[in-house]
Amino acid sequence: MNPLALIGRTFLEFLQATGRLGLFTGLSVSHCLRPPFYPRQILRQMLDIGYFSLPVVGLTALFTGMVLALQSNTGFARFEAEGAIATVVVLSITRELGPVMAGLMVAGRIGAAIAAELGTMRVTEQIDALTTLSTNPYKYLIVPRLIAGVIVLPILVLIADIIGVFGGFLVCVYRLKFNAANYISQSWQYLEFRDVSSGLWKSAVFGFIITLMGSYNGFNSKGGAQGVGAATTNAVVTSSILILVSDYVMTGIFFAGK
């Protein structure tokens, strides 16, 4: 086989897939803006994506904050900079680790669930059945998930931020015997509003990416159980990668001046 043909075909397939995803995204977003809306569905998805993700995201945030404090301590002790630990923990959590960790955990939990559910609905003709019941599948299935994802992820991340910072506090005060009042005041000292807000903006984008990739892969799955399995895997892998890539891009934009 001609290796050049292989490269060409792979490239064309890539362009085709990108175009298809672009069209899907455009169509889904345009349906977000036009009635009818399904508030019940939005609420149900918000519960699924937000409320039921709390334990997983909370635990992740707690241990991330704890390990961050522990690691900073072993590193900073070498040049007697323990006073900076609180600042490092709070900035790392709010700017980066809160949104990204929560995003990745939700991608695993929700992206997979959306892809599996919509994929099964596709292969059992439930999506076609929706159309025959005068209900637009984009509006009924995809729009509620997108809206719920964009609204709920920032809330989830705000909670994760608080729990993560608290994890750092626990380790520093109870294990490393720092003064609690000092630690808290140091946490506030260098924290700016936009450290938190940039993380929340990021998480809204992550919420969109997770629900979009879950919906796209599920909606276009074919070929029975194997197809649904592949859709689920693709949803998690692509949304995780897109979260990391877009995180880098957004960090570059948010903190361009500094």
């Binding site: 003709e125 076609d128 059945a129 025959t132 019941l133 005068s134 209900t135």
Partner: protein, 259 residues
């Protein structure tokens, strides 16, 4: 005098998936109140045909008219109006497994027509009774039902909003002969009561004989024979003869290699 406008009129409909030509210029007319059954082997494009009429798939060429109005390339409001005329019973029932049975049946009433839930529930329960299901079934989930019951729920869902046109996609596939006959009887009864126009696809000849006014045979993407039900046994068409007698030998060749 002009003939009345046919309910469904297909002419020269073509649809391909890549190299695979599924429909190759299909012509078919279904008149108002008529029950047409399309027979044909597996994989001859019967389901694709129904999806083209519904607008789930877009044909590559040809025209599809419903009540004399072109139905391909509809969008927005026109498409909603188009879809509101249809009800469909899917091959695998395609019930929404996240919703209880009564919500499945009442789905179109609540979501698309905005009927209050209480009223929609009553109507769903009544329709379930019409297909021989107990009101208690309404609170079960589709996964808790047998195949035959799922088909009956799906039938109730297809007819509850009193559609003008109903499609039946292999209504008896996967059912035992007695349950098949129950479903056939219910189809005939529902259609008669609603006065709906129906288009069915099946490869079950017992079912076709029961529900059809007219039978059409689909082979390689075209209608190769059509006529009233009574003519099916002396059609003089070798394809039809082979199909209704279920013979492996004949003009329809299956690609089979020796072991």
């Amino acid at each position: 005098m002009n003939a009345p406008t046919p309910k469904i009129e297909l002419s020269g409909v073509k649809k391909s998936f890549g190299e695979k030509h599924v429909l190759r210029g299909l012509d078919l007319v279904v008149n108002k109140g008529e029950s047409v059954v399309i027979i044909g082997g597996s994989g001859t494009g019967k389901s694709v045909l129904l999806k083209c009429i519904l607008g789930i798939l877009e044909p590559d060429a040809g025209s599809i008219k419903i009540d004399g109005k072109e139905a391909t390339k509809l969008s927005g409001h026109m498409r909603d109006e188009h879809l509101a005329k249809f009800g469909m019973l899917f091959q695998g029932a395609a019930l929404f497994d996240s919703l209880p049975v009564w919500r499945n049946v009442a789905f179109k009433l609540i979501q698309a027509q905005g009927m209050p839930r209480k009223e929609a529930r009553e109507r769903a329960i009544r329709t379930l009774a019409a297909v021989g299901l107990d009101p208690k079934v309404g609170d079960l989930y589709p996964a808790e039902l047998s195949g035959g019951m799922q088909k009956r729920v799906a039938l109730a869902r297809a007819v509850v909003a009193r559609p003008e046109i109903i499609f039946f996609d292999e209504p008896t596939t996967g059912l035992d002969p007695i349950m098949s006959d129950v479903i056939n009887e219910l189809i005939v009864k529902c259609v008669r009561e609603l006065g709906a126009t129906t288009l069915s696809i099946t490869h079950d000849m017992a079912s076709a004989r029961k529900i059809a006014d007219r039978i059409a045979m689909l082979h390689e993407g075209r209608i190769v024979w059509q006529g009233p039900k009574r003519d099916i046994d002396h059609s003089g068409n070798p394809y039809v003869d082979q199909f209704i007698h279920g013979r492996a030998e004949g003009p329809i060749k299956m690609q089979v290699r020796r072991l």
